[in-house]
Chain length 538, copies 2
Amino acid sequence: MCSHSTQPFGDAIWILSFQNNWQKIIQKLMQFFLIMSPYLFCSSLDLLPALSGEESTKCFFQELVNILLNYVSASFRRNSKVLDFHHPHQLKEGLEGFRLELPDQPENLEQLLVDCRDTLKYGIKTGHPRFFNQLSSGLDVIGLAGEWLTSTANTNMFTYEVSPVFILMEEVLLRKMQEIVGWSEEMGDGIFCPGGTISNLYSVHLARYYFFPEVKTKGMTDLPRLTLFTSAHSHYSVKKSAAVLGIGSENVVVVKCDDRGRMIPAELEYSIITAKDKGCVPIYVNATAGTTVYGAFDPIRVIADICERHRLWLHVDAPVPLTLEIEWTLNAWSVTWNPHKMMGAPLQCSAILVKKKGLLQECNQLCAEYLFQTDKHYDTSYDTGDKTIQCGRHVDVFKLWLMWKAKGLEGFGSQVNKCLENAEYLFNKIKQRPDFELVFNSKPEHSNVCFWYIPPSLRNMPPGPERNRRLHEVAPKIKAQMMENGMTMIGYQPLGDKVNFFRCVISNPATQTEDVDFLLEEIARIGQDIKLQLTETN
Amino acid sequence: MCSHSTQPFGDAIWILSFQNNWQKIIQKLMQFFLIMSPYLFCSSLDLLPALSGEESTKCFFQELVNILLNYVSASFRRNSKVLDFHHPHQLKEGLEGFRLELPDQPENLEQLLVDCRDTLKYGIKTGHPRFFNQLSSGLDVIGLAGEWLTSTANTNMFTYEVSPVFILMEEVLLRKMQEIVGWSEEMGDGIFCPGGTISNLYSVHLARYYFFPEVKTKGMTDLPRLTLFTSAHSHYSVKKSAAVLGIGSENVVVVKCDDRGRMIPAELEYSIITAKDKGCVPIYVNATAGTTVYGAFDPIRVIADICERHRLWLHVDAPVPLTLEIEWTLNAWSVTWNPHKMMGAPLQCSAILVKKKGLLQECNQLCAEYLFQTDKHYDTSYDTGDKTIQCGRHVDVFKLWLMWKAKGLEGFGSQVNKCLENAEYLFNKIKQRPDFELVFNSKPEHSNVCFWYIPPSLRNMPPGPERNRRLHEVAPKIKAQMMENGMTMIGYQPLGDKVNFFRCVISNPATQTEDVDFLLEEIARIGQDIKLQLTETN
């Protein structure tokens, strides 16, 4: 049996990067000592539910927690790497003994702990203050605590009988969120979903059911051609939803945007009328509050008027309604809210809010008797699983609930504001620098800042296809080198007629202005070097 | 700042059940001391990423881990309760200070820890050896360790660049699973999904796309009426998928089953021909290996022949293909495999396996440029996110990977076999007892055992509507009392012409024969008392 409860060599050894030989020797020595560890003789069969497995289980978790907390600490340290990049084939070959293949025979606990360390070592520190790659970044330690508890409770959200506390927490959270979007107690329903795309899918699914309830049983075959509207800058999930739901991605009309990435309302109305003229039936408009790339806000008031005029379902895709004007959501029929974005909840945490009470239930319920018995001894309106399309549902609410307790609404507000301030700082910095160019000149409305790095060889080049061709190569090349260096990370993409540019999204409360400075310096430093390659290709 | 690192009073106090007054007094005293705890003066702002927040964060997590590990230990103790039942209104009123409402102002860390304890206290111990309520039960501590790491890594499965290790682990797991279902390396694709219902939805979605690829862009409007086939005993997710995908739940033909809950192949073929005669287009048959309630296995060989004859997509809904004959999956076009069921992976863990390579990608890809850039410096075929309907995707693979390392394939096999043995034990016990009656007399093929408890007043009553009416009330009444007692938990439901009966599903490796005995004794004990009420209603 396992009996040791302290770490044999302390944690420090695990954060050595082993780049030099002498470090490798130390590593090998440590590995030798590790082989002597009592865990070598223990397997998972010695842990609970084994008889007298309690102590071993605690020991094992203590070791694991040390590994995890050291990783957490390292995630926040600026001198630690964001990533230690390796190509797929390298990782598959088994780096320094880290084998991904699955055995037929069990491995011992020591090996499992080593695997845990390696898994973290070769992963990405998404909580690092210099990780700017995604809108979901940061590592909220209270949210993390919430996730640990959630997985320990290991239950399912389909019925009150197996998730009494979590089902009620979901109700409390949804009510609070509905309050924030401006809906009265009589209005409002909702559900937490596995990600924002699924939340958006719910909105289209509900809109279709609202206008054509027979679709649930009869399907789309006898229905007219339904049409959805969303802006050219909106998230691709509206098209994906149309493809999945059997509406068809081509029946999503992509409405033109202005230079800033905002839907042009006149274009929307024109598209609606054109669709009707063609015999199609418009049912749904998606308006975005903070688009994926530009962080743009569609002109909601005018869009809402158009929707009312044409009696269309107005969905608002709003990752963070916290800082929105109430006009954004007050007249929406549904709202997607993703607390796993700027509110910093661990992945995943997304909710679809639906204004019309009862619609979710009507649209989705199938009353499976093995789960949703109506002769239970408690109020079965709390068996919310029949509102969903998923049946079994992961508990995504507890982490958010605990974070809300820890921060209060005010705390969330100042967290979001800090990200917006950092975005403005970045915007101003770029404006001042000759080696960077903004994709659009207006101040960021959200935490997105889009920009090009201009290598010296392009700085005096006149605009045109040749400059664009070269500029298009800059961001991927910088990003490749940046990932090899591993000290920061940012995304890029082309959009419309704009060639590859960087998009910085700031959503990590750990990020400070010094990290923003670092990002720009790192891009410029790498960018200097890639200028030669560009010249050579000339 | 927080400075204490040990628990002030030890853990023992938290498992007291406070049923008597003197215990309440102790509790109050302890609460008083807790108020003196240094955490009272700490908030989440003192934790990371705060400067010098490392120590406080470790302290906070140490306290949390004590709470969680004590809960884990208690989950496996037979003398601890499975649940401490309260009605929704009771929990909402705030039991013993446990408030669900969300504050505007932050609360201190001590309160958060108390909330964590309360959340667990009023929840359900799904890992308890006497929790028989759901097919997903048990608390695999290695799986739990995997979940803790997953949430600490807090990343998203859409691209290799943010999930290098997890994306490769998914590939390794899927390949292994494909090997087990008998598919060669050239065949086979797949993806992990948020639950078995979504996996089944993928299968229908793919079948539709395979036969009518234009559906992705054009939708269902110009398509003929598609028809799906599934047995009367299959999971409701096939109907749900039809409703969501725009096929319509009425276009799912529910094929009759024999007494044992197995699809009758002749009925299937007859239904297919009838559908064709009506001008519908059959595309898909779902065969179940272990139905939800009876645990029945559809006769796969004959069904596969029928599918081949009519050129239909054969989907196999097989929670645990591990113990299946290869004929089950060899000819399937897709397979749903739920490791969160009998393999004991924490929730959620479900995969859809698809035989035809590339189909998932073709069916779902939209090539969003902000995520799936093709000019990245690594092999972008590992950016698997475009294969999915979800975009962002929770990491569900690591826990399974770690469990596989810990147990090996053999370990999983013996775990499943143990559950099957316990099910057979239960079946034999019931057969011997005069106060229980089996719903079907044949041996369990899976871990499900379905039975009635027959109260004394019904034992000599002749079969007929009156006996059925009364018997229908028995299970809900026993379950209600059982939940109030909190010592065990089992599900019930009616099915077809069978009135409410208990369904025991054994999937918890912690369950021993003594727990099976306990379940029957508890039902019989409670059942004795409810007989009076039944007599009164006479």
